[in-house]
């Protein structure tokens, strides 16, 4: 396990690469899910929403 993490001396470069890509891809995956929920809430309370229940 320690040898795996050591990456033959390239741990810094390898793990930073995987870390950055992992964080960027995860962010871009989950942010639209959050944004859609927010958007739906926003539209529900907007004056444009004529169909809202009285």
């Amino acid at each position: 396990m320690a040898e795996f993490l050591h990456m033959g001396g390239y741990a810094f470069y390898v793990w930073w690469s995987y870390g950055v890509v992992g964080v960027v891809l995860a962010y871009h995956y989950f942010s639209p899910l959050v944004r859609r929920k927010k958007l739906i809430r926003e539209l529900a309370s907007s004056p444009l929403n004529r169909n809202a229940e009285q």
């Binding site: 795996f4 990456m7 033959g8 001396g9 390239y10 470069y13 390898v14 930073w16 690469s17 995987y18 950055v20 890509v21 960027v24 891809l25 962010y27 871009h28 995956y29 639209p32 899910l33 944004r35 859609r36 958007l39 739906i40 539209l43 529900a44 907007s46 444009l48 929403n49 004529r50 169909n51 809202a52 229940e53």
Partner: protein, 258 residues
């Protein structure tokens, strides 16, 4: 009136009708949800397999040691940065030329994802360049043209969000996307046209020495994973864009009050 419309529609061929339905924002909104889930789970599976193969099974490179393992995210990111640009430009063109609203939504959804892939390609390339070339960055043809790609995505996003009227904003941004297409062959052929530090293609090159199969299979697996990820994430983004773009329509009201 109603039966008349029904008759006209049944006269249209099945493929064309499918195209119309598919292009309808209300239909696509529902469709995107289902497909995004499928692509998402499949992507996760391929990521797991690709990471296992690339980080654990594949042997170290005889020259670069373990630093070469960056290839499993660097090359797919770089490929996807260009693929996403093509999807964005084609979608933007359908919006610009045929006024397909879905095209604008897809193009808008692609831009931030494309920027993310380009950013990943640049960062991982930089982190790979340091131990391999001895520098994080050089103003070399491949690296510079990829940086231009990042600015093209940013430019698209800036234009698409700068103008108050969404339609004209999409049109202006679409023009930029189409002009920017010229950068793609430049990125692709940069390693052949100019004397560059960046190596040529490893995967598609003919003859020897080629990649070991144990190294190649995880790379292809990661490539599929990135592609599935792209479609899943892009469809989720399109859903947001459609809600935003169609906020005055009945189907959005139904979704919102549903």
């Amino acid at each position: 009136m109603n039966s008349n419309a029904e008759q006209t529609r049944s006269g249209v061929s099945g493929g064309w009708r499918w195209f119309h339905r598919f292009g309808s924002p209300a239909y696509f909104y529902r469709f995107a949800s289902r497909w995004s889930k499928w692509f998402g789970w499949l992507a996760l599976l391929f990521f797991a397999a690709g990471l296992y193969g690339g980080l654990i099974v594949a042997p170290p490179d005889y020259q670069m040691g373990d630093s070469y393992r960056i290839i499993y995210i660097h090359v797919p990111s770089a490929w996807m940065s260009m693929f996403t640009y093509v999807v964005m430009a084609v979608a933007a063109a359908t919006g610009l030329i045929w006024h397909m609203k879905l095209g604008d939504a897809v193009a808008r959804a692609c831009a931030p994802l494309g920027a993310a892939f380009t950013f990943c390609a640049l960062v991982t390339g930089s982190l790979w360049g340091r131990p391999t070339w001895g520098t994080y960055w050089v103003w070399d043809a491949r690296l510079t043209s990829e940086l231009v790609l990042l600015f093209l995505f940013f430019g698209y996003m800036a234009l698409a969000n700068a103008i108050e009227d969404r339609r004209s904003a999409s049109r202006a941004a679409a023009l930029l996307a189409l002009v920017g297409l010229i950068n793609l062959p430049i990125i692709h052929y940069s390693v052949e046209w100019w004397n560059t530090l960046h190596q040529g293609s490893t995967v598609t090159r003919m003859g020897r020495p080629t990649m070991d199969t144990r190294m190649l299979i995880p790379l292809l697996t990661m490539f599929i994973a990135f592609k599935l990820y792209f479609f899943s994430a892009m469809l989720n983004r399109v859903r947001c864009e459609l809600l935003d773009q169609e906020r005055r329509t009945k189907w959005v009201a139904e979704v919102v009050n549903g």
